[in-house]
Symmetry: C2
Subunit: 490 residues, 2 copies
């Protein structure tokens, strides 16, 4: 199995696609640009959802569900939003099919043409703010803190599993507030939630900052983001949180009676992460042997493989294996006992390694005699023989170490691949090697665009806190107030 | 609030719509036929999802995700399926909008017309079986036990919140098996899962059986169903589980190498329940005072309302209330302490009654002195004063009683409204009064259709086990092997 995987060095892009499909995470469907998320991949997404959903609820949000379809006219209401979104979308024009009068299967029934076309949501600001108009009358109705788990569609010409697909799954938070300050605090809070999730659950270190005006969400006043560095030196935007000002409130006429008894427009945020995180997870930790999944998100955290020569030995080993499984499950661990007798241990070792299970236990007749097991870690590929005594706690500890080690490894990698660059020549050399470039920028869209045209590098983010060290723009030489992060990106 | 609710007797249909919208479960959206599921309603749906998802996983199923869109040609592959589904559906014909050259907003870009139209899934058999072809080669790949949580779209002309909407949320299980026997066993198992969920979680008694050929799912060999009786005497189909034979395997050419080394077509099932269950829940238990939610599904199981005259009293009461809340939460209960000082206790009582919270606790200064609380049950509207000692356990017991009582009440209602009918005259009289009619039927589609035309009653189900008492068809007088259930239905 692992033999069919391209190496990262040979072809990173092919390695990624091979891994996602062969490790049963996802595959392309019969519908151009849409993927099938397979059970093993979906189980990881479910772990992500559960952790995020808990964090959203702990910060006071509730889930709701809004329509899949958005009337075309809604998009025209927020001027910059329509530019950003309405162009690349799936348009529903009819609501019925009929038998082809010429007997060739079924055809669209032209009598069933919609008066107004419906857009399959690429994001839900418009339909949600149209709804909020009726939900918000007074300051007592605020803040309104709502999240939606949903599928969205953005028509993409070039797609890649998880990273860029026509349909994807995501969550979108949409909140409404009395004041600008509260809305900004909410947008910043959700950025922290995303960063915490990325680092503590995905073991993926992220930079936090704001986007340059060019890279802002269509309709936002400020876009906060987290950015991670993939193993090939390219950056990946892992989550965004937008302060929307009063743009959508004005577009959809959402006003409230303030404490001062005045009619005021509501302040808004929106924030989202998507199945793109699955791609980020794969590209952060996995290696030429297959997936590496952080224990906190792994559908199977510990796999137990029995070693035996005959049915009698299997029976003895199985008793012990089931005992270990039960005991670990009582600790809340997700454990699989792989007792298939159609496959040899070596095959199973390779398979579970490929599937990224954090810890593997092998147990055979000799182990039973010695009261030991062999434990292998997926992150380091190291094996050790452990005494059975206190095994549960040892495994809990090992899983914690794996989680921490994956984060530290990724952090070390990012640190090694972040470069302060002060000259354009250096920039041109460094950008070819990959990684983040921390350089001064004169703050103009013009320079940003020129850098992008010449190097394909974009400003990934502007750090939230200015380090107070002004300098000269790496491209134009004009004054700059702070360094920003450049990279080529997914 | 409750005053604005129509009574069930005056206008059951209006009562239902009033309740769903005013209790914040759902509302109509700006998109015809599509609803917005509001946070309170969505929280109940989440409880339902969590319970069902656990039951699916406990029976060996895994979740996955398949595309929203289905190529039009897929529908033509299974002949009866296309008749049943492809007609009333949302059709995506274009993938881009552009600025209107006449400056009137945005219009469909005719240059971006799809070669083949895409259908927004009304159900996913076709796209899933097209995928399964690549997943199934040998008997070792079977059974394949997969479930999907998703939104689906069926273009409905007359919609009602939850009961019949153009877009709705559901789960759809799609399984593949080696033998006919295994597939039938799976379809029957999932019917049992649905019945158990309806009865134990929703406190809604259901009849189990199979549909007549007329009422079968388009593409099924046998459709199993659960049917519940609503308070207005109409039946509601609450879940279906289909044995699909080899129909989809043949349509999508899904074969496997059997243990006997032969290429054989795979046997299939599919099964689903939807947000329609939300409507069934409301119509099973709620009353003229508002919602009644069974404790197991209630987003808030216990609400604590403080009684006080001044800030000092509130402070004292709040200390005790928070202590009770914490202690109940430690038992796993979902508790809200309603400490809003903008509303009086009477308003709060009415509001939580309206929202169907199973148990309300009122606590005031006198209760503190006496070490008591007042506890009110939503199902019986009875109040009693309880000693604080052992309060947690008492409340746990009360919630269990509420759950049981709701089921028993609904069961008694159904028993009272199920009638054995042996003559057509009696049938005509009884059907006007509502309820289930258990009558003999000659087994022909012709008679079934005539009964429907004359009375609007349909065969809701044929019991799984024949009681062995043959008779004469209530309509045609021809021989009948067993009684079947008739009713008017949602």
């Amino acid at each position: 199995m692992a033999k069919e995987l391209s190496s990262r060095e040979d072809n990173y892009s092919q390695w990624y696609t091979d891994l996602v499909t062969k490790a049963d995470l996802a595959e392309n469907s019969a519908v151009r640009g849409c993927m099938v998320i397979k059970p093993y991949g979906y189980a990881i997404w479910e772990s992500m959802q559960a952790a995020l959903d808990r964090m959203f609820k702990d910060t006071g949000h509730q889930n709701a569900y809004f329509p899949l379809f958005i009337p075309k006219s809604f998009f025209s209401k927020e001027a910059s939003h329509v530019e950003g979104f309405a162009k690349e979308c799936a348009v529903v024009t009819h609501y019925r099919l009929k038998n082809d009068p010429n007997g060739k299967g079924i055809v669209v029934d032209e009598d069933a043409k919609l008066e107004e076309e419906l857009i399959v949501r690429p994001t839900s600001e418009t339909i949600i703010w149209d709804t909020y108009r009726n939900w918000i009358q007074s300051y007592r109705d605020l803040p309104l803190l709502i999240n939606q788990w949903a599928n969205v569609v953005r028509w993409e010409m070039r797609t890649r599993l998880f990273l860029r697909t026509t349909e994807f799954l995501w969550q979108e938070g949409h909140t409404a507030h009395e004041t600008m300050g509260e809305a900004i605090a909410e947008a910043e809070q959700m950025l922290r939630v995303y960063a915490e999730f990325a680092e503590e659950w995905m073991a993926m270190p992220v930079l936090r900052g704001v986007k340059s005006p060019n890279e802002r969400f269509a309709g936002a006043v400020e876009t906060y983001c987290i950015e991670a560095l993939m193993q090939d030196g390219k950056a990946l935007q892992a989550g965004t949180s937008h302060f929307l000002g009063q743009n959508f409130a004005k577009a959809f006429d959402v006003k409230f009676l303030s404490k001062e008894n005045k009619q005021e427009y509501v302040w808004a945020t929106s924030w989202g992460v998507s199945t793109r995180l699955m791609g980020a997870l794969v590209m952060s930790h996995s290696d030429d042997h297959g997936l590496v999944i952080p224990p906190k998100l792994a559908p199977i955290q510990v796999v137990i493989v029995p070693i035996y020569r005959n049915a009698e030995q299997l029976e003895m080993v199985a008793v012990k294996a089931r005992e270990i499984k039960k005991s670990l499950e009582a600790r809340g661990l997700r454990v699989k006992f792989d007792d298939r007798d159609t496959q040899k241990p070596g095959f199973k070792f390779t398979e579970w390694e490929f599937k990224g299970v954090p810890v593997r236990i092998a147990i055979g007749p000799r182990d039973l005699e010695n009261e030991t097991v062999e434990v292998a870690r997926r992150d380091t590929l190291e094996k050790e023989v452990l005494q059975m005594t206190g095994l549960d706690q040892k495994l809990v500890n090992i899983l914690e170490q794996v989680q921490k080690n994956l984060f530290q490894k990724a952090l070390d990698f990012r640190n090694l691949n972040t470069f302060k660059v002060d000259s354009w020549d250096e920039f041109l050399v460094q950008i070819e090697k990959g990684g983040f470039i921390l350089a001064h920028w004169d703050g103009t869209a013009e320079t940003e665009q020129k850098i992008k045209d010449e190097t394909k590098a974009t400003i990934r983010l502007i750090p939230l806190t200015n380090d107070g060290k002004p300098g000269k723009c790496v491209y134009s030489g004009k004054p700059s107030t702070q360094r920003v992060y450049f990279a080529r990106a997914y």
